[in-house]
């Protein structure tokens, strides 16, 4: 087995100082193998989004080791593509220009920007929306462009913070299917935060269940469901069993061991 893509070792994180100091993450250990899709699940307040934000380099941590391909993560960078829960397409740029914005930051020339942007709009099945502005796109379309943007500059891994959380159920299903397809074709290391267990089981190779007070990883589940996965797989007994077990683990993990 190769060394992991992402290594999180003994990571601690607190907010505030002195008497107001609260521990939000305690001793987080998690490795992501190359091309592994791992989901973080847990009730709200378990620190899963904080953990993702730390991996993105957007937040500091107190102690522990955090490295990608063996080199420590010190700040945000183009080696990690991030898809936020909120819509982060810049409203004054078209779908294509939004992707080009990222490519330009990554140092591509004009011609390459255009070519790669259009390729990635194809990838997320929006070939005809290149010249539309975010205000003309539905929520699902916006997130597809955001995914295309995060993939376009070929980061080493993708970090997704409840990217489908703001979408309606029907669109969410379609987005999950699209993401699975893209992932199965292109393979990429993904750290995915969600509170939707069905979504986590459907998309992931592995699921880490986080508990609260303070946030830590209580259990991990391997998802031994064959790929390629299509929507029908959600009806299978194996899928439903796993989903039930993860739910149970979350419930157990959410019982506060100490009153905060």
């Amino acid at each position: 087995m190769n060394s992991p893509k992402l290594r999180i070792k003994g990571l601690h994180k607190s907010f505030g100082t002195g008497a107001r100091r609260t521990e939000v993450l305690r001793d987080i250990n998690l490795d992501l193998a190359d091309n592994e899709f791992v989901s973080l699940v847990g009730t709200s307040g378990c620190g899963k989004s904080t953990l993702l934000s730390i991996v993105a380099g957007l937040q500091d941590f107190d102690s522990g080791d955090l490295d990608i391909d063996g080199s420590p993560i010190l700040k945000p960078g183009l080696d990690r593509g991030v898809v936020f829960q909120s819509y982060t397409l810049l409203p004054w740029l078209t779908a294509q220009q939004n992707i080009e914005f990222a490519l330009k930051a990554a140092g591509h020339d004009r011609a390459a920007c255009r070519r790669i942007a259009l390729e990635h709009l194809d990838l997320v099945k929006l070939p005809r929306s290149a010249n539309l502005y975010p205000s003309e796109l539905s929520g699902g379309m916006k997130q597809r462009v955001a995914i295309a943007r995060a993939l376009s500059y070929r980061p080493k891994m993708l970090l997704m913070d409840e990217p489908f959380g703001a979408l309606d159920a029907l669109t969410r299903h379609q987005m999950q299917e699209l993401l699975t397809q893209i992932w199965e074709e292109h393979r990429l290391t993904v750290l995915f935060v969600t509170h939707d267990v069905e979504e986590a089981v459907y998309l992931s190779d592995r699921i880490a269940v986080m508990g609260i007070g303070p946030g830590r990883i209580m259990r991990t589940f391997d998802v031994d469901i064959e790929r390629p996965r299509r929507e029908e797989v959600m009806e299978s007994a194996a899928f439903m069993d796993l989903q039930r077990n993860v739910h149970k683990a979350i419930r157990e993990a959410s019982r506060r061991p100490e009153m905060a």
Partner: protein
């Protein structure tokens, strides 16, 4: 593919006959209930016409002396006379020049400072409390000081307009900048952009529709400060003419100029609004 948002169900079920008619009638007076554009215009015009008619009737029936309230005809004739002899144009030119320069100086300084204190907490700590303090000092109280410093020159007008608008603008622009979604800045960071580029490529363009709105609103206030400055210390301008007219009991000039100032304010506001719409038409948040 989910290119369209989910189909919205009709919120109100089938309603029939009388109940439907009653519901419609009630709805046009409900909170936030829509009315047709033509209806909106009709109501607005009717209010203006009603007030104008009341004015015309009150003076026509000689309910008030012309020295307190001249007739609409007298006001219009007087404005026509002042236009014909060139007085009105001179006054307009002087005032528009002063408000333009004063407002541009205030805006040129408030935009960079507002962006700075909206983005960096250290600068905010250095500048925001001070600006907040000065903001509460009444502009009118600065008038004597401004005359001591700058006499009755144009510079004194610029100074009053500046004091009246700059401090408000800085705080409002700071707020516009703070309203830029944190994740937009996060996006810039994950793309490895340095702070300077995040500021120029993400924060400023994102805050621009809001900043434009701030300029539009503060330009409205600038008219007030201009007239104030001209009322107390000037030898030309719309405000000056109003003061002089008071001395000669030319109430028709006073009222004509006040109405004119209202029109000028309305026109600049509409122009700014239209420009903003054209400039930021893609921005769903504007």
């Amino acid at each position: 593919m989910p290119d369209e948002p989910a189909v919205k169900a009709n919120p109100s079920g089938p309603v029939t006959g009388l109940a439907a008619r009653q519901a419609t009638r009630r709805r046009s007076f409900g909170i936030g209930a829509p009315i047709a554009r033509s209806r909106f215009l009709m109501i607005a015009v009717a209010v203006f016409a009603g007030l104008g008619l009341a004015w015309w009737a009150a003076t026509g029936l000689e309910l008030v002396k012309p020295i307190f309230l001249p007739s609409p005809a007298s006001v219009v004739t007087q404005l026509g006379k002042l236009w014909a002899d060139g007085t009105l144009l001179i006054d307009l030119k002087a005032s528009i020049y002063r408000i333009s320069v004063g407002f541009l100086i205030a805006s040129a300084l408030s935009i960079p400072i507002g962006v700075l204190i909206g983005s960096f907490r250290t600068w905010e700590a250095a500048i925001e409390p001070l600006v907040d303090f000065i903001r509460y000092m009444p502009v009118v109280a600065f008038v004597p000081l401004s005359i001591l410093w700058a006499g009755t020159s144009d510079a004194q007008k610029f100074l009053i307009i500046f004091i009246g608008t700059f401090f408000q603008q800085v705080l409002m622009i700071m707020d516009n900048v703070k309203r830029v979604p944190a994740d937009f800045v996060g996006l810039g960071r994950t793309l490895g952009l340095p702070d300077r580029k995040i500021l120029t490529r993400i924060v400023v363009p994102s805050a621009l529709p809001g900043i434009w709105d701030t300029l539009r609103i503060s330009l409205g206030w600038a008219w007030t400060w201009l007239v104030l400055a001209e009322l107390v210390a000037a030898t030309s301008g719309l405000g000056y003419r109003i003061t002089v007219s008071q001395r000669y009991f030319q109430t028709n000039t006073i009222i004509g100029y006040i109405l004119l100032l209202g029109m000028l304010g309305l026109i600049t506001d509409q122009v700014m609004k239209a420009l903003g719409k054209a400039l930021f038409r893609q921005d769903s948040r504007s």
